[in-house]
């Protein structure tokens, strides 16, 4: 348990240090995720405590966004000024991205075998 927490923090720390040393524009924790991924590939399994700590963190992932999100109160004026551009960007951009990405996969992947039982196809 303590070892798994240390492993996660160590990966993050290594990421933060490397990002600063080489001046990468990638966030430190993202590089930390790559380090942990490589570690898991080398181990060829997820050690049970790492699994447990990761699940615990990811189960409550949405809570972790709240403190940063509340920071928006500092930018109320800007949201008021640009609400139309922001709304169009979020709604339009998201619909286009989902549609295009799903469409590409649908075209490029071979059909899954028998999505319906034989004889039930309409």
């Amino acid at each position: 348990m303590l070892g798994a927490v240390t492993l996660l923090l160590f990966c993050q720390l290594a990421g933060e240090v490397l990002v600063r040393l080489i001046g990468l524009p990638v966030p430190g924790p993202v590089l930390g995720m790559v380090f942990l991924f490589v570690f898991l590939m080398l181990r060829r399994e997820v050690p049970e405590p790492v699994e447990r700590v990761s699940n615990r963190l990811l189960d409550h992932l949405s809570l972790l966004f709240v403190p940063a999100g509340v920071g928006v109160i500092q930018y109320a004026a800007r949201l008021e000024d640009a609400w139309l551009a922001i709304t169009a960007s979020i709604v339009g951009g998201t619909i286009v991205s989902i549609a295009l990405t799903a469409w590409i996969i649908e075209r490029l992947l071979p059909r899954p075998p028998h999505p319906h039982p034989p004889g039930e196809r309409g």
């Binding site: 990638v26 966030p27 990811l58 966004f65 920071g71 928006v72 619909i95 590409i104």
Partner: protein
Amino acid sequence: MNQPDIARLWVYLASAPLFWLTLTLVVFQALNWVFVRGGRMPLLNPVLWSIVVLGGLLTLTDTSYQSYFEGAQFIHFLLGPATVALAVPLYRQWDQVRRSVVALGVALPVGSLIAAGSAVGLAALLGADRSTLVSLSPKSVTTPIAMGVSEALGGVPALTAVFVILTGVTGAVTAAAIFRILRIRDQRAMGFGLGLAAHGLGTARAFQFGETAGAFAGMAIGLNGLATAVLLPILLPILLAMFD
């Protein structure tokens, strides 16, 4: 308790990290309860409403974000290790990734570029300023990565966090209609599209289409997080130059 006592108590509470930390946990859990009770309707998203309620309380009580954050930072800190932990589900689904490598190899970079490009393009055409554009650009990526990318590129992480959540809500609300109109029935396609464009909230929606959709959405979160973190620093200057 008489008036000055209450005033003194409030002075203590408003500046004590313990109060805002506890309040954040209470508000989130209450709204999460409402969300679960309300059949997990995307519009009841507990993150969105926690931000509205807590932001409203800070404004009403004239409390600065800085004194709020002194307490809330203990929750915020966990975003870093949580981002690292995303390696675990990615590792679990690695076999599926390898088997669909061609389709994913096309859909990932194209989807990632479209997600950032459409966000910046639409907002730029409607006259948003540069720092708003930068803050919008990683909006399809899971919050911890999006905020990190936004900060690294000169955006406003707090704005990005809200844009990311609104993106997730939009994706969850519109997905069924999009798939119906385009006649997309393959769960792998639905899941990957939702996870790539609408991160964790899209993934929660994908699980309602089926297990396979959910697994592909979870994988897409990690992959697009990485792709965006690597591609956006190169792409963004080009986008900004195009629309300037």
